[in-house]
Subunit: 259 residues, 2 copies
């Protein structure tokens, strides 16, 4: 290992490059411990801050994690499948818990969620999608889902207040058959949904709420559900950490005359 002062590439990038290479070619597999800052300082004959700059860059890329005082470690990535379409698909009748729990307890991981319900003036993004007038309020069910005790993703579901007034949607409990079914029972069955995905870095608030490691981007998943009359009755804001999810869709060509 050596670095060149005269090169076009800054020293810290050369160091980062060597480490990145060792990670991607398997020399340092997930979970492996990286050299300490002191060791890099010594090995490359640079100031500690220069070695640090290389490591900091890899942290920002999401490749490694700083676990003080044990050192830096190669990150692992074990995403689970996230299938938005599932909520419209027929489900086994014996399922008595909500979608998330059903999907993951089966895999031997302990699923849990917290629920907070409140009545709020919704964010602009929700207002647009639910076509609310200024001042119209919504009921929001804010959930944080945990897997094996670790926060996993968040799900904030907004409903126009007048649609869900007095229903069990307003109670901060699990709804075994799903909030969508409750809406359907109240004559607001959703037949169409629009999914939008925004990819960005998390806000500090999201970083805290989901205990995100530095260098973890999120998918911001916005779902809006419509009745057969085309009325939006539900908007959901999901925050999906990139290191924990792979988003999957399946589509089929609509029936048509063969060519």
């Amino acid at each position: 290992m050596s670095v060149k002062r005269a090169g076009q590439m800054p020293v810290w990038q050369q160091i980062a490059g060597e480490l990145r290479q060792a990670i991607s070619d398997g020399t340092m597999p997930p979970g492996a411990r990286l050299p300490t800052e002191s060791e890099l300082t010594e090995r490359f004959q640079v100031a500690r801050n220069t070695a640090r700059q290389a490591l900091t860059a890899l942290v920002a890329e999401g490749l490694i994690i700083a676990a003080r005082p044990r050192g830096y470690f190669v990150r692992d990535r074990r995403p689970i499948n996230y299938r938005p379409q599932q909520e419209f698909m027929p489900q086994p009748r014996y399922l008595e818990t909500d979608r998330f729990i059903a999907q993951h307890s089966a895999e031997g991981r302990e699923a849990r969620q917290t629920i907070e319900v409140s009545i709020v003036d919704p964010p602009e993004m929700v207002k647009d999608r639910l076509r609310l007038e200024a001042g119209e309020l919504t009921v929001v069910r804010k959930r944080v889902r945990y897997l094996d005790g670790e926060p996993f993703n968040t799900n904030d579901s907004y409903f126009p207040l007048d649609l869900v007034q007095g229903t069990e949607i307003m109670r901060p409990d699990d709804i075994a058959r799903g909030a969508n079914e409750v809406l359907a029972e109240n004559d607001y069955r959703q037949v169409r949904a629009l999914d939008e995905f925004y990819v960005r870095m998390p806000t500090p608030e999201e970083t805290r709420r989901l205990a995100l490691a530095p260098g973890t981007p999120v998918a911001y998943h916005v779902v809006t559900g419509f009745t057969s009359e085309g009325r939006p009755v539900r908007t959901v804001l999901n925050v999906l950490p990139g290191d924990r999810h792979v988003i999957a869709f399946e589509r089929t060509r609509p029936a048509q005359a063969d060519s």
Copy 2:
């Protein structure tokens, strides 16, 4: 503006917090110039490196950009709609999609793409999805798409070599009616597709190829197309910079007998 040494929060985070606040509340709108490092050093009475650490963090969050030597500027975000379903629905009825998202699309923007075709031993990810034996080769069409002269996203389409041997898929030209139609003409019409989205930070290679600003995550979109016999005939690896795309799906509840 003031920072406290005694607080639990590091000084650089306090500075970053104040700047972040000014950005999110509109005091510094997109395009606005931030204080220089010297100005922050003076205003908060800290070393230049401390002010720098705050700015570097905001760069890594994708909130600001360093445009040397003009200064730091608040980033803008003007994503366009990305609709994977479109390829199966030439004239889709996107009743809801276009309602919300400002369309900077094709209108007035110059679209262009480069195409490279080669025969390669595909990456593992492609091998898995096309169910290839070791050593089986693929044809790959690598495209970089530009909008207004700026690289926008990349699209690498892999086909089993024996399926497309001698077809126009192997020529590095635009295929007006689409590669899928060419496959269909050769008895490999795709009727089903699987979309997978991985959210992560870009590799240095992707950063270069797409001229990504620091702090820009990407969606890695993997599409696999199947014939009616269930044979995979095409796998596409798309890299979609998060600051330039919003991914949109629309779904309808399948017709079903109520149980």
